[in-house]
Symmetry: C2
Subunit: 82 residues, 2 copies
């Protein structure tokens, strides 16, 4: 499941889906990452002030990585979008 994001809101939404896919609650993820549940909530809600450290911590714990690429590259992933 590759999720595309360009804004903090989209990033947060994607992370939320990944967390839920792993059957975790915000509190549980907070435990694993050493972050407060409220911080997870803010991140997933797309608070633009959230720090990269928080994003990285959550991604690492959820086993995720980022691909940085130019916009609208119609690769094969297009199919995964719909």
């Amino acid at each position: 499941m590759e999720q595309i994001a360009r804004t903090p809101k989209q990033i947060g939404a994607a992370l939320r889906r990944c967390r839920r896919a792993g059957g975790l609650t915000q509190a549980a993820l907070g435990e694993k990452t050493g972050l407060r549940q409220a911080t997870i909530s803010a991140l997933e809600s797309g608070e633009p002030g959230t720090q990269l450290r928080t994003l990285a911590e959550v991604m690492a714990t959820l086993g995720l990585e980022l691909v940085i690429r130019e916009r609208g590259q119609p690769g094969k992933d297009i199919g995964d979008l719909y």
Copy 2:
């Protein structure tokens, strides 16, 4: 060119390559984004405290997007096919 990143440092390094690929200086990117050149510098250096708003602003200006996916999906990555 798809760049993979898991840490603020790797994110910053990737953005730096993208900026340079576009022939921009930090100052020029700062102009376009409304961010200080020092802020661009910090982001590219991988300061973990950098905010998502800064990342998003820079990505938008450079015409980039993120793909959030699970770590290490070797075969699925068709990016290196062309």
